[in-house]
């Protein structure tokens, strides 16, 4: 289905990532946003507050992030597409309701414009240290989808994609921005509404009295939804539940309920994952990066190429599910991987896990507050290439 032209500001713009995210949400059909002020994400909801009355949307500033992250779920169960927007400290508070969204299978979007942490950390400066929290932050076992934009244009594009994936898989989707992409201003092209693909919610066609909220159909692992007021008089609960949505406190019910909410993402990982890849075919070293760090990595890669090193680039646009199938393929012929990130090692450990020792992995850590010096990444590429070349010489 195509986007509703109402509110789609087609054409070229000069926008920062936060404002681009707002426009992406409007293009995606989001009409309910609840938020709580927090740097460096506040510009998203400020623009929403100004734009929503003009496009038939409802913005409410809630009393805290706990409230914001569940108000959006109430709105979704009444038929809205909804999101909330925050940064690290607020994201911590939202963990409770990321778990609820996973358990109720509420399609919704959480935007985290990451800053330095832990705790209050660096409110106005970038970090990428919430990426593991996005995956594992709520208690219990579940899967989510997380996307990582590296530009204002991608903040727009991936906000739409986040809403589409949320609807397709009935899962909370995290848009893991960072302070740099949030506040960097660049050209953003908003397409014509008829060129924007939108995934609509799949509603049940069951007759009144026959709808079971968690009954899947055919091969699909994602049950169709309903909304309050449609006459199905359904029940949903954060307790482990059966197809009827009724609580069942047994290990068997747990296996059935939780297994499916995990498998619906794991078994579709190859369909969900998107990557940007360049010159990985004949490389000795591949730099793996995401978000703003990718832009710095490109500079380091250019320096390495100028020094005669065969180096490729793999940019993770999807952080979760992790691109393990592609990295396994690359590890068949790539000797070393270099991973810069604005933390002391988070996605890097996922990379190491997937490599299973078949290739060397080099972390380029950084505590956040600014981006890497490309020289440091370049130095690690040199080190990695030296080891690979030495190893080849010994063979």
């Amino acid at each position: 289905m195509k986007a509703d032209p109402k509110g789609v500001l087609s054409g070229p713009h000069f926008l920062d990532g936060d404002h681009a995210c707002c426009e992406g949400a409007i293009s995606a059909g989001c009409r309910f946003v609840a938020g709580y002020p927090i740097t460096p994400s506040t510009e998203v909801v400020e623009r929403i507050a100004s734009r929503f009355p003009l496009v038939g949307g409802m913005f409410i500033q809630m009393e805290d992030e706990l409230a914001s992250s569940i108000a959006i779920q109430g709105a979704v169960w009444a038929g809205a597409k909804a999101m909330t927007v925050t940064s690290g400290p607020g994201f911590s508070l939202m963990m409770e309701h990321i778990g609820l969204a996973a358990m109720l299978e509420t399609p919704c979007v959480f935007v985290n414009v990451q800053r330095g942490g832990p705790s209050t950390g660096l409110p106005t400066l970038p970090g990428q240290a919430d990426v593991m929290q996005a995956r594992w932050g709520s208690h219990g076992d579940y899967e989510i989808i997380a996307l990582s934009p590296d530009s204002p244009q991608e903040c727009y594009d991936l906000t739409i994609r986040a809403f589409n994936l949320a609807e397709q898989y009935r899962v909370p989707v995290m848009l893991m921005m960072d302070e740099c992409v949030g506040h960097m201003t660049e050209k953003v092209i908003i397409p014509k509404a008829e060129d924007i693909e939108i995934t609509e919610r799949r509603y049940t066609t069951a007759a009144k009295g026959e709808y079971l909220p968690y009954r899947t159909e055919g091969e699909s692992m994602v049950p169709p939804m309903t909304r309050a007021g449609d006459g199905h008089r359904f029940h949903v609960t954060g307790l482990t539940h059966d197809e009827r949505g009724y609580p069942v406190m047994t290990a068997e019910a747990q296996e059935k309920c939780v297994r499916r909410i995990v498998d619906k993402i794991r078994k579709n990982a190859e369909k969900i994952v998107t990557l940007e890849e360049s010159e990985t075919q004949n490389a000795d070293v591949v730099v793996v990066s995401y978000g703003i760090t990718s832009r710095v990595a490109v500079k380091a890669i250019e320096m390495a190429k100028a020094a005669g090193i065969k180096v490729g680039h793999l940019r993770l646009i999807t952080l979760w599910p992790f691109a393990e199938f592609r990295i396994r393929q690359l590890a068949e012929h790539i000797g070393a991987f270099v991973m810069p990130e604005l933390n002391y090692g988070q996605m890097f450990f996922e990379l190491q896990r997937v490599l299973e020792g078949k290739a060397r992995a080099y972390l380029v850590p950084h505590g956040g507050g600014t981006v890497h010096d490309p020289e440091v990444i370049y130095g690690t590429i040199l080190e990695a290439a030296g080891r690979v070349i030495q190893k080849e010489a010994m063979c």
């Binding site: 409802m58 706990l66 038929g79 309050a228 029940h235």
Partner: protein, 284 residues
């Protein structure tokens, strides 16, 4: 011989009965009053949504045959706020307990009242966390015994009607589970009211609060309510604080008009954006 169907059965998820509540608990009475109030209110069942938090009262949503949401601890009110704002045609009722609504959820309660979210909040106040074994809550009277106050509770409890009135609720009432007729009438009025309406129901927990404080079984506690309740409609809510084994002042205390969040929103946008503004009537 044919027995006529129980009139409340059609409002209940009979496939979930028997419920988990203890014998003598006041929750069954409250649910019974609620479904009769819904019927009397005239709203079609398909437009009713019930949202609960966590705890014994948190299970109410799961037994009512309406669109029903069993959410997280303390957060039923913000869920209900989002539900109502996305579809203002729904009648949204939060049914939860004193611990859920006023301890972990206290912040949400005062802000929903302040912004006059158009929802009804029904609080079963049994002075304890029943589901976890009888610990103190923000309404446990000073000196009462609880699992986490084995020598007696030292803190002062909230006066819920006063809290609700002072933070902005447009309708405030208190009854005990003994006052079924008055309670039904209040529930009907609250559901019909536009804006943030609040009903406190003082309700027995003979299993935990009652047993630890030697208040007898459910029947004894109901007798206590009969003998110690005083109906004072319109009473000053500041005078409604409860003390251990003291009098319980019941009645309807507040019934006033104030623009709901949505009415205020549409009025402001019309004022500032002019006639081109289409008043918001929901997402759909």
């Amino acid at each position: 011989m044919l027995t006529p169907a129980n009139p409340v059965h059609k409002y209940l998820r009979m496939d979930r009965i028997p419920h988990i509540w203890c014998s003598g608990c006041g929750l069954g009475t409250a649910v019974n009053c609620f479904v009769r109030a819904v019927e009397a209110s005239g709203f079609p069942l398909d437009t009713i949504s019930v949202v609960s938090g966590i705890g014994c009262t948190g299970r109410v949503a799961g037994y009512l045959k309406v669109d029903s949401f069993h959410t997280t601890h303390g957060r039923a009110i913000p869920f209900a706020t989002g539900l109502k704002l996305a579809n203002p045609n729904l009648k949204v009722i939060v049914f939860s307990g004193d611990g859920d609504l006023f301890s972990i959820g206290g912040n949400h309660f005062i802000h929903a009242a302040r912004r006059n979210a158009d929802i009804t909040v029904i609080c079963i106040n049994n002075f304890t966390y029943g589901m976890t074994g009888g610990q103190i809550t923000p309404t446990t009277p000073t000196d009462a015994i609880a699992a986490t106050a084995p020598y007696g509770h030292i803190e002062e409890p909230f006066n819920l009607p006063s809290l609700a009135e002072s933070t902005g609720a447009v309708y405030v009432a208190r009854w005990t589970s003994f006052h079924v007729r008055q309670l039904m009438k209040s529930m009907k009025e609250a559901i019909q009211k536009t804006g943030f309406s609040f009903i406190e129901i003082v309700s027995p927990c003979p299993t935990l609060y009652g047993r630890r404080n030697r208040l007898g079984d459910g029947l004894e506690m109901m007798k206590y309510y009969r003998e110690n309740s005083v109906i004072k409609n319109g009473a000053d809510t500041r005078e409604l604080g409860m003390v251990f084994n003291g009098k319980i002042i019941c009645g309807k205390f507040v019934d006033r008009e104030r623009p709901s969040f949505l009415d205020a929103y549409n009025a402001k946008m019309t004022e500032r954006l002019g006639p081109s503004y289409q008043p918001y009537k929901g997402i759909l």
